[in-house]
Assembly symmetry: C2
Homo-oligomer: 227 residues x 2
């Protein structure tokens, strides 16, 4: 995957004007990723973003109807890109068990190297996803947004990994529940370790959360196989 520039296509429903189509649009994306990381999504406003990129907020509104739409765009970009990462990882891993392990690793650990040469900083973006992505769909407008396809990239990733689970164990009843529990759980455990450590456990190394969910998964799958 190194040095290969992948063009991530984000569904047209997620923006008013495609930010990938102009200099200003790309600046909006790259600067918003930095700014959200710095001050958090709640404090983030289009006015502040405009100030950092020296453009009026009205120009930003031409790309996104509001800041939540921008967050949905970012999460969608992330999940589309993560699906590429998954697909690529599957091509170089032979055994089905190792494939699932690799998937869990990708889903539970923040990105640490920015391979891609583009205006999207994938390390910071993955931080945003871990810390704030639940704010993209925990809103009063979920149902409408879901209807127009705002969350298809995320669903697609869950489906893909669920399929691998089913390949390992075709009669498993809760593949999607398991995978979404792992993804959301890993995000939350990281948040807890940083802000509410009493809700998680002291972790020796960075891989602890990954280990936890990997073990959890295999114990679950192995046991139901035996029955």
């Amino acid at each position: 995957m190194k040095n290969i520039h992948i063009q991530i296509e984000v569904s047209k429903e997620l923006y008013t004007k495609n930010p990938d189509s102009s200099e200003l649009g790309r600046k909006i994306i790259s600067s918003s990723i930095e700014l959200i990381n710095e001050i958090g999504f709640e404090s983030f406003t289009f006015k502040k973003l405009g100030a950092t990129i020296n453009s009026p907020e009205s120009s930003i509104y031409r790309y996104f109807t509001n800041k939540q739409a921008l967050l949905i765009y970012l999460t969608s970009w992330y999940w589309t890109w993560t699906e590429y990462r998954l697909v690529f990882a599957m091509t170089i891993v032979a055994s089905i068990d190792e494939r699932l392990n690799k998937c869990i690793e990708i889903l539970t650990q923040p990105v640490e190297v920015d391979d891609d040469i583009s205006y999207v900083n994938e390390i910071l973006l993955s931080e945003i996803i871990f810390a704030e992505s639940l704010k993209a769909y925990h809103t009063k407008n979920v149902d409408e947004q879901n209807k127009i396809g705002c969350f298809e990239a995320y669903k697609s990733v869950v489906q893909r990994v669920s399929d691998i689970v089913l390949e390992i164990q075709p009669d498993f009843e809760y593949p999607h529940m398991l995978i979404s529990t792992i993804i959301e759980g890993a995000h939350q455990q990281k948040y807890f370790s940083e802000h509410l450590p009493a809700l998680t456990d002291k972790v020796k190394d960075k891989k602890a959360i990954n280990s936890f969910y990997t073990e959890l998964t295999w114990n679950f799958l192995k046991s139901t196989t035996r029955n």
Copy 2:
């Protein structure tokens, strides 16, 4: 537990004036529970709440500094009350295994009967907890709020159930991770089943989420015991 009126004491840090100490305070709590359920926490404002109880919003501000403080109060009330439920349940269940099962049941299923005669509707409150409680601690002020003890009730519940896990298996490394994964996971799976069903699995009955997390837990604990 039937017909026993339990006085839930909420920590003084969570309010400006104790809502339990006056008629208006109790009206604020009971009406906010109904209103948040109706319109969701995001659309909920003190102005709207004032309109429904025929009091000016400034009077509500005498009890809570803002709507987020009120949500923290509600979640704290819920977890304090849930700890009573857990303690009570433990007294009538003999075996340690059955105790853990009962805990998981209490943590993963919304409340269905309102036993208590009080101004708090526990059924609606549990709906709020499942749907919105993560908004209580997923904010820019978590750290300060955590410092003054806003989340002690939740932590206490996680600790209590973690202790049961450790009683079953003293060398288990991730009891808190497991319990908070179960609690938050159950909340999210319910949300997904209502709004983003592609992220979960078709569930036959109301107990499906409970069954999933119960199985998950026992498979995890049984297997590490064997090692």
